[in-house]
Amino acid sequence: MESRLQAVFAQHGSHLNDAQKSDLRRIAAEGQAALDRLRAFPTDNSDGPALYLKPLMEREKKPSAPASAKAAGTPKKS
């Protein structure tokens, strides 16, 4: 948190008065808990990031089986 604040003050300190710096410090402190919760959430190396949101749609979730597979009587869950 402190490093983020110091980066802000170093880059934009000239645009900020003391009250605004103090406000930013409070906001950063209050936001730290949310960041900690997010960081603590278990994700695996294999979990893909939704780099660009692609809503999961019915036809994408369940691609229809090829006609040949149906004809061959492929059992479900094979």
């Binding site: 605004q20 997010l38 780099l51 949101l53």
Partner: protein, 467 residues
């Protein structure tokens, strides 16, 4: 001079009169323009009125209809567009002083789509500055000042599509276009007692719209009924090569007729959308829940998955907003924004790490799969749109509207469609909204459920008295 009721007719009702030539698009447009000039400033509803464009489009519509070339239910219908949609030659301010004189030389795709079906643009709706892209603490965070709620002008409309909400509620236009990154269509629709649709992410092109958080930004209609929203959405939806966020042609397009609503919907009440209700919202919510049980007799209950969804959504919005407004942040011109929080938050938003952003995106992917499982069992989940009615104009939103919103976070993180409709009023006569949310791409399920609710109730037909 027609009575006030004409200003509150639905698009569907206006369309019948226009198609049968009982109502002139030019006269209707002039009526709405006059009313908007008279009452728009009272609610800080507009950035700009565009009477020249409106009357020109209305005259074209009238000629076409007289020649027998009726384009459909939006032909000759006046609307307002949120002032983050580019309209060629007209200021597009993004609600913010640093962009007060910004003019684009092209139209947003949505504006062109509405033009193509003959809709008549009468003005640009006011909005929260940068749609809240640098945060905001007060309702006054707008170039036009605080948008006042037509049901009670001492209360706010909610944001960021604040003017759009006020315009529809006050009968200043037949419908308006809003946008939502997180709550900006659903909340103003609820606070203003109107119907608002947040479509599936990627079904409506954002080309020509201000980017806030590009992986979450969506554009949708705000109108008088679920059916109106569906008809307007049908005109707006579709793949657009100019917006790489739009989904494939066959999945983006939407056609609507009430007859397509033939599914027996599996509906569930969300048991954990809100922790508590305040401001008198509890009573109308309880009554609405009872109505739902009568309308959808086999309604079940379901809980949203629990996790750091709001934390992930917040981080994604903050990081993407920092990128979207990078030049403004780096120029130091955040100080020109109105709101004290907006003047500083952008600086902090720039400082999150790429690893934290990536973690948020991983959490989003996990959440999408969890919600996918919810929609295996149900077509639509329902909950109050907000746990409170419209809040006072002077409220500190950072503390006063800071309650957890897992429903909004989940819906927007996953790009899920939702439709908010009025479901009752508090004892102080402030509207309360009910939100119908469905699976990605299944916008019609949310529309059908909301419309079914409106076929059994008349909350959406009520409107404030404006004198």
């Amino acid at each position: 001079m027609p009575g006030e009721e004409i200003f509150y007719l639905s698009v569907s009702e206006l369309a019948k009169r226009i198609e049968s030539k009982k109502l002139s698009p030019v006269e209707l447009t002039q009526l709405y323009l006059d009313r908007s000039q008279k009452f728009g400033p009272r609610f800080n509803a507009y950035t700009t009125l565009t009477p020249e464009i409106a009357l020109e489009q209305a005259k074209v519509a009238e000629k076409e209809i007289h020649r027998g070339h009726y384009r459909g239910p939006l032909h000759g219908i006046p609307y307002a567009a949120k002032d983050l949609l580019a309209v060629k030659g007209i200021p597009t301010t993004w609600g913010a002083k640093p962009y007060a004189n910004q003019v684009f030389d092209y139209n947003a795709t949505v504006i062109d789509h509405l033009k193509n079906v003959g809709a008549v643009m009468i003005g640009k709706a006011s909005m929260i500055e940068l749609a809240g892209g640098s945060g905001y603490r007060f309702a006054s965070a707008s170039l036009q000042g605080e948008a006042k709620n037509p049901w009670d002008p001492t209360c706010w409309t909610c944001g960021s599509s604040s003017g759009s909400g006020a315009i529809v509620a006050a009968g200043l236009a037949a419908f308006a276009i809003g946008t939502e990154t997180w709550g900006s269509i659903i909340c103003p629709s609820a606070f203003c007692g109107i119907s608002g649709l947040r479509p599936t992410y990627g079904r409506v092109s954002r080309y020509g719209a201000m980017a806030l958080a590009p992986s979450m930004d969506k554009i949708g209609p705000m109108a008088r009924s679920a059916e109106d929203c569906a008809r307007i959405f049908a005109a707006m939806a579709g793949h657009d090569q100019k917006d790489r966020g739009t989904i494939a042609i066959d999945k983006a397009a939407f056609t609507y007729s009430p007859s397509v609503e033939s599914r027996k919907l599996r509906v569930a009440w969300l048991s954990n959308a809100w922790k508590s209700f305040e401001g008198g919202a509890g009573k109308p919510v309880a009554a609405a829940k009872a109505s739902l049980k009568k309308i959808f007799s086999d309604i079940k209950e379901v809980a949203l998955p629990v996790g750091p969804w709001e934390d992930a959504a917040s981080l994604i919005v903050q990081v993407e907003a920092a990128a979207s407004f990078r030049s403004l942040i780096r120029s130091g011109k955040l100080s020109e924004l109105t709101d004290p929080l907006a003047q500083i938050l952008g600086y902090l938003n720039e400082q999150y790490s790429a690893a934290d952003y990536q973690q948020a995106l991983k959490v989003r992917e996990i959440l999408q799969k969890k919600m996918d499982a919810v929609f295996e069992s149900f077509d639509v989940v329902v909950a109050p749109s907000q746990p409170v009615p419209a809040t006072p104009l002077t409220l500190n939103l950072e503390t006063g509207l800071a309650f957890p919103d897992p429903q909004g976070a989940i819906g927007n993180l996953c790009g899920l469609p939702a439709l908010s409709v009025p479901c009752g009023f508090t004892e102080k006569n402030l509207p309360i909204g009910l939100q119908f949310m469905s699976g990605a791409g299944d916008d019609i399920a949310a529309i059908q459920a909301a419309r079914t609710f409106q076929l059994h109730t008349d909350w959406h037909k009520r409107h404030p008295r404006i004198h």
